[in-house]
């Protein structure tokens, strides 16, 4: 058998079965003999794109392990001379899988390049948009191909990255479509900054800020973040730069990592290529509450509380004097009642009223792109249109994107590239979140189970036009149907961002890029509280305008030089960043003058106007150099100096370096061919980097806030933050080591990183004693450490002709620790609401959940008082922490002939969350099923007591809710008594040895201290003890937030190209997909364990959140 035949056999076997392949690899390679033929040969061929079969221009073809190479021409043809017929050719092209093909003596060798899903090799885009061979990097970069984002679409593209990159945490807030997402890489590194990754498009940062109070704890609205303005169809690839080394060149703003987006460029081709992508999806509410349908409005199981029995003995629900929420009343058994709307009806459950409030949402997302070009010029134009109607009625968003990407060689040495994207978005009625009066969940949580949607919908207002609802004692309970009809808001956004760059080849080794990138946006908002509404009887109206302008101008000088064994690359550049944001607000004061006219001029009192301007600039110079030895050992150095406008003179210039090294040890091992088949590639990498960071503008001086619209005249007050004396830049130091290994002809890849990051000198606003005259002081302090492991395993276990299986497995473990806060500061509140806070505490991971617990004895038993109720801990305690133990996600993709099935399962193990929905759903309202326990028995016991004419004190309840726990010290049961009492109420009595004695030392009772609770209580009292205002006990509602989710599932069929030959259509894909399909595992009742409060510091805190939107969609894609 010749060598070639052996190889062929190996490959054939390999296709059959991986195990067989392994076996034969081992066996056959024992006989493998390395031979060389000293003979010159010219190899030529055509390189085509696997995706569409078009010839590929500009592909680099190199002879492996040499620097000799060539580039494919305009027809995709190449030709190269080799000295050894056993040489291997390496075909590489940006964003495509590098192909390594042994020549095996052939003179004609065609290559079909495919864009990689498994990311095994090839070039990646790194900082400043510099394309580099992944092999040469000393740090971890994960790349996600644009393809992965173009089928199962979400209204916010970034949410689709969830679970696809190790170390990346994308959490979307609960504000409906296009709400903000928190993008965190490798843990929270800063106490008070937003901790989010920097978003860079084509080498230039873009604005990803979240406008105004996104989900303020008192119930704001979430206005989304800037990244959702990027059209996923424009994305060629996304590189996620996780470590500081990767992002050191972006400076301050990249301290939390970088999401690097490379846009699709036009491709040279004979004719214009047209691509269509059409997406339709339907959203339904998922993870609804487990609601009880047995008991209705009232108290103590009776028509009490909001009910008044009329002269005919019929209970009348008195909405104006209703003094209690929820469903603690009698069983709903069709009794005759007069409802809150004054109508006589039967007292019955409304099992679907919450579910029925929602509708099926729908998203239409269409895009068309035109691409084309000649050898020297390319162009791509995309037009995309999105319409979404939410599951909440009357909420919708429309978005249009137009983007153009053009490149042309204006001189043989000068290339001009232009990318521009224009986005227009209009949003109707952003949802009120959390405690907002117009949050429908908040209404439904409190609403008795017998109140029908119909009664609410048909009785929005009284004859005077005033809002009505089932509870009108307190204005913060409103009618959800009134809200969706009259409490309206709207916002529009017009944004343009892009960049123009000039690449000048000064020399074969030296090039200069000059680039300028504007990012302009204008957002307009209006919002109104309806006239005659419960919350504001005179109504209100406000307008806001936010104009943001950011400019980044930079230059980059690149030098490359290759010698026999060394190659050297150097980049030096500078950037000038200028950021300006202007806000104008106007609002009515004191209500509207004329009813129902929502304009600023119609304000009852002088309207309030306010104009704010923020400006910031950072200038930077940077350098990066790389030395490569034999293309297997790489050493990188970067250095950057920033000058920031936000720091005081003397501290506003700061320098930080990074070092990294990659070592492809498999190249050095001189592996025999047989070994190479098992272990094909191995690299280790290590890096160290420092990054400096500045702060927000205007934090250095004592200022006064002047308000000229106050009812008493112009007032001014001094800032409540003590400005710092000599503020220093923040410093982040990060270390990383990692390996990248591939096995079995690159079919299995393993990427492992270990990192450790410390953030020092943080610019923190700490709480100070108010007696100092201020609430806060801004200082440099603290140290947060994040260390962790990231593991990515990917592979293609099966790759037959008709069937293949790909998978990517991501494992992330991040351990966070707040090593130090400011001197004398024990904790820093990141967020607080109703006594529960999310805090940073020294010695703990970032994000402790702190609140009141149930008091326990030394053995950890919960303590019960003589009334059968829990004792509350004396002080707040750490009840949990928001950080998971680890996260795991797996994407599998199976292709059989033209069918592809892929799905993403995402898991988070460990970490806790506080579910406010449960605290109030159980406690205030008794609307959740869990509150049913013991009700019947308690009401029966009370009935028996009343029948017997015995007072509460003398009656031992025969049933009800019995809390788990033991009696506190000092609980006694006197002989002849039915109920436990506290010894402190019996002066002179004492306990000893389990008995109670009187002053004459006679046994008069039993000491119950430490004995298991045996007191039944009213379930209404049991549950409401937790939500009792200012006496909250949060502990029972802090849950393990682990979950396993089937996040994404896509089924695609590629229609055979030959069907469309006549009309020249090709690449016709039809897909069905689903997102948020299945919460496979969760311990949190009633709410999604992934939901969180806002995208600033509100993680781990949930309150009245909307259900998850589960989408099922269809996608059509085809090209002309």
């Amino acid at each position: 058998m010749s060598e070639i035949e052996k190889m062929v056999k190996v490959k054939r076997d390999m296709r059959k079965n991986l195990k067989l392949f392994l076996f034969f690899t081992l066996l056959i390679n024992i006989f493998f003999i390395h031979q060389s033929f000293a003979q010159e040969l010219t190899v030529s061929g055509i390189i085509t794109d696997k995706n569409d079969g078009t010839p590929m221009i500009g592909v680099t073809v190199k002879i492996n392990n040499t620097t000799n190479g060539t580039i494919s021409d305009a027809n995709g043809k190449y030709s190269i001379k080799i000295s050894n017929p056993n040489d291997t050719l390496v075909f590489s092209f940006i964003s495509y899988n590098t192909l390594i093909i042994p020549v095996n003596g052939q003179s004609q060798l065609n290559a079909v390049m495919s864009s990689s899903v498994t990311q095994l090799s090839g070039m990646v885009v790194t900082a400043l948009g510099i394309e580099r061979e992944k092999k040469s990097l000393g740090y971890s970069v994960t790349e996600v191909k644009g393809d992965m984002l173009q089928t199962a679409k979400d209204v916010s593209m970034i949410n689709q990255l969830s679970g696809k990159v190790a170390g990346l945490d994308v959490a979307s807030a609960n504000g409906g479509a296009a709400s903000s997402s928190k993008i965190v890489l490798r843990g929270n590194k800063s106490f008070t900054n937003n901790n989010q990754a920097l978003i860079v498009v084509d080498g230039v940062p873009i604005d990803n800020s979240t406008v105004s109070n996104a989900g303020d704890k008192w119930g704001g609205r979430d206005y989304g973040s800037g990244i959702s303005d990027i059209n996923p169809d424009d994305i060629e690839s996304i590189s996620v730069l996780k470590g500081a080394s990767a992002s050191a060149l972006y400076g301050s703003r990249a301290a939390n990592g970088v999401i690097l987006i490379t846009t699709k460029k036009g491709k040279a081709s004979k004719k214009i290529q047209i691509s269509f992508n059409s997406n339709t999806s339907f959203d339904t509410p998922y993870i609804l509450w487990d609601i009880q349908n047995t008991y209705g409005a009232g108290r103590n199981g009776k028509f009490e509380g909001p009910w008044i029995i009329n002269s005919n003995g019929i209970p009348v629900f008195d909405a104006t004097n209703a003094s209690s929420y929820g469903s603690w009343g009698p069983k709903m058994e069709g009794q005759e009642i007069i409802d809150w709307d004054g109508k006589q009806k039967s007292f019955s459950s409304q099992p679907d009223n919450y579910k029925d409030y929602f509708q099926t949402g729908m998203t239409l997302n269409n895009s068309v792109s035109l691409s084309g070009g000649k050898k020297n010029s390319t162009c791509r134009l995309t037009l995309a249109d999105l319409k979404n109607t939410d599951i909440v009625p009357n909420v919708s968003v429309k978005r249009t994107n137009i983007s153009l990407n053009a490149g042309t060689k204006i001189h043989k040495r000068v290339t001009l590239n232009v990318f521009g994207s224009y986005v227009r978005q209009a949003y109707d009625n952003r949802l009120g979140l959390s405690d907002a009066h117009n949050n429908a969940n908040r209404n439904y949580i409190m609403m008795p189970r017998n109140v029908s949607n119909e009664s609410l919908e048909n009785n929005l207002m009284n004859t005077d036009g005033k809002e009505q609802t089932w509870y009108m004692n307190w204005a913060w309970m409103t009618n959800p149907f009134w809200n969706e009809e009259y409490e309206l808001n709207n916002d529009t956004k017009n944004r343009f961002f892009g960049n123009t760059s000039l690449t000048i080849d000064l020399d074969t080794n030296l090039s200069l890029i000059i680039r300028t990138a504007p990012d302009h946006s204008l957002q307009k908002f209006w919002s109104r509280d309806a006239y005659n509404g419960l919350i504001s009887s005179l109504g209100s109206y406000s307008e806001k305008e936010i104009q943001c302008d950011e400019y980044n101008t930079d230059f980059l000088l690149s030098y490359k030089k290759e010698w026999e064994i060394f190659s050297f690359t150097a980049n030096a550049g500078g950037n000038a960043m200028y950021d300006k944001s202007k806000q104008n607000t106007a609002e009515t004061k004191g209500g509207l003058n004329e009813p129902y006219i929502y304009t600023i001029e119609n304000s009852l009192n002088t309207p309030k106007y306010r104009s704010l301007l923020y400006e910031k600039a950072i200038n930077s110079l940077y350098f990066s150099g790389q030395l490569a030895y034999h293309n297997f050992l790489f050493l990188d150095v970067t250095a950057r100096n920033d000058w920031s406008s936000t720091l005081p003179k003397g501290n506003n210039s700061y320098f930080y370096p990074s070092f990294s090294s990659g070592f492809v040890f498999s190249d050095l091992m001189n592996l025999s061919k047989k070994a190479e088949k098992i272990f094909s590639y191995g690299k280790i990498r290590a890096s160290w980097a420092a990054v400096g960071n500045d702060t927000d503008p205007y934090r250095l001086n004592k200022t006064y806030y002047v308000d000229s619209t106050d009812t008493y005249g112009t007032i001014a007050n001094v800032t409540t933050v003590i400005p710092p004396e000599n503020l220093k830049p923040e410093k982040l130091v990060s270390k990383e080591i990692g390996t990248d290994m591939r096995f079995f002809f690159d079919r299995i890849g393993l990427d492992f990183s270990y990192y450790k990051t410390n953030s020092f000198n943080q610019i923190v606003q700490i709480d100070v004693s108010p007696a100092s005259g201020s609430n806060y002081a801004l200082i440099n302090a603290g140290n947060i450490e994040n260390k962790g492991i990231e593991l990515q395993l990917n592979g293609k276990p099966v790759d037959e002709n008709n069937f293949s299986w790909n998978f990517i497995l991501n494992y992330t473990k991040n351990k966070s620790e707040v090593i130090e806060l400011a001197e004398g500061v024990d904790n820093l509140q990141l967020m607080e609401h109703w006594g529960l806070s999310i805090e940073a505490r020294p010695g703990h991971p970032y994000g402790d959940i702190v609140g009141y617990a149930i008091k326990r004895d030394a053995n950890g038993n919960k303590l019960i008082n003589e009334n059968g109720m829990y004792l509350r801990s004396d002080t707040t305690q750490v009840l949990g922490n928001i950080n998971p133990k680890f996260k795991l996600s797996m994407t599998n993709s199976f292709t059989w002939k033209n069918f592809t099935l892929s799905f993403l399962i995402d898991a988070r193990i460990g970490g806790e969350m506080f579910a406010g929905t449960d605290m109030y759903g159980y406690g205030y309202a008794g609307n959740f099923s869990e509150t049913l326990e013991g009700r019947d028995a308690w009401y029966a016991s009370e009935e028996a007591r009343e029948a017997a004419g015995i007072s509460v004190d003398d009656w031992k309840a025969t049933g009800g809710y019995m809390a788990d726990g033991v009696y506190q010290t000092g609980t006694i049961l006197l002989n002849g008594e039915n109920n436990p009492e506290s010894i402190s109420e019996h002066p002179g009595y004492y306990t000893s040895g389990g008995y109670v004695y009187d002053q004459s030392h006679n046994v008069v009772g039993t000491d119950l201290s430490g004995i298991s609770n045996q007191t039944f209580v009213n379930p209404e009292k049991y549950w409401s003890q937790f939500s009792d205002w200012t006496n909250e006990i949060h502990e029972p509602f802090v849950y393990d937030a682990s979950y396993v989710k089937l996040r994404e599932l896509t089924f695609t069929y590629k229609l055979p190209d030959k069907w469309f030959n006549k009309i020249q259509m090709k690449n016709f894909y039809v897909s069905v997909y689903g997102r948020n399909l299945w919460l496979m595992y969760s311990k949190v009742p009633n709410v999604d364990p992934e939901t969180f409060h806002d995208s600033s510091s509100g993680q781990g805190y949930e309150l009245y959140s909307y259900p998850v939107r589960r989408s099922i969609g269809f996608n059509l894609k085809f090209d002309f």
Binding site: P306, A475, N619, P697, V718, I722, V768, A771, S772, S951
Partner: protein, 501 residues
Amino acid sequence: MKSIKNKSFGILVLIMLFIVSGCKKDLTDLNVNPNEPITTSPEYLFRYALKQGICSYNSNVNLEQWGLMNWMMYFASRGGVEQGKEYVVPSGKDAFWQEQYADALSNINEVCLMTNGKPEYANQYAAASIWRVFLFHRLTDLWGEIPYSEALQGLSNLNYTPVYDKQELIYLNMLNELKNDEEMLDPSKSFFDASADLICKGNISRWKMFANALRLRLATRIKDRLPSTYASVVLDLSTKIMISSNEESILFPFNSEKKNPVYEASFTGQAVVQNNPSKFLVDMLVNTNDPRTSILLDKSPMSVLPWIPPYKGVPNLLLTTDSAWSNYNLDGNWGDISRVGKWFLRNETPGVIISYSEVCFLKAEAALNGSLQGSAQQFFEDGVRANIHFYEVYGDSTYSVSDQTIDTYIQSLAPVSMEQIINQKWISFAFSNGYEAYAEYRRTAFPKLKKYDGSEISENDLPKRMIYPNSESTLNREHYLEAVSSQGADNEFTPIWWDMY
């Protein structure tokens, strides 16, 4: 080749120079805040500090209405009480500390710093200083030892952890400041105009009256601790200008936007929440035929029925589990319970800082113990009369009470005594001055508050002070511990220095 390299090097250097030199100069200028000035007019700060001293929600509603006025038995909670304790300390007490120090005091202190030592601003300084004393005295009366001498130095001195001062020192200091401030006030010099001076309308002699009245109040508070100081202050004040009519009372002007806090506490929209007049107050007014009964109280809605009495209060310290609970129809429907009088439920009902009647009562007390010349009985009667007329002066003729009715009422009262003075003072503070009622109750143990069943309230039924906020025990721990070791355990039953009973 070489020339290209040189050229490019030249470009590089040029760009670098451009960035470094061109932009660096502008950088610091860019950080000047265009939205908030670094200086401002003391007038704006003064107006703000006057407003914030009175108008903050937590001080007015949460602490005073829901806490102090319940403890002082003006109000009672319709929801009953837990475990027999009326005094569940409202969460507003921490917010009150924070709002008073970091907002009202911080800004009035800014005015003092801006005007101190400047003769042309002597009046502005003196008025700001008087207001600063007013704010501090409420704090120390609630907590005892508080940061005083080192307080408010965060911005000026980066002192985040001020020491606590003994109450004796604070009181002596405040008395001294008031004396100096009053002497510094000079009608011939410039002052804030009427629009900035929300409480005295730019009238310097009224500031003098305010200072003197406040000084009398503070001196009286420490009368039993430091009798000679008291006597000398009273003597010094006997020659000074005093508040001598209802019209000269020091009041805060609430309006339709900043509504009277009783309105805020009792009404939201049209619905009554939480609190109603207490049985103790209602009984005292009704039993003594007090002419203020129909002013302070509104008849219960159901009293249109002949068998329902017009006035009925909610018992204080009544447990929901108590059998007496069923006598009060409080579970959801409370139609036979009296409401707070409509006089208080007007937007513009003024907030009382120091009234003429209080000055009368303070003088009656001084006359009673011989520190002041004059008839204690006369001062006492002046006080009662002034308070009864107050509602008409700041209301309308519907609140007028005939002299004959007043005379009859006064004649029915026992002759002047400490108990009589404080009882009347207590009635005069009803729904308008919880802070002062609480302080005077602790000083004198009058009126003799009773439980709903008529029994005396016991030692631990009412707090004697506030517990320090959490922020102090964590953020200012060292000094907090010093204060605790000096004053006694940080609980609500440790008496403060001037509280001797």
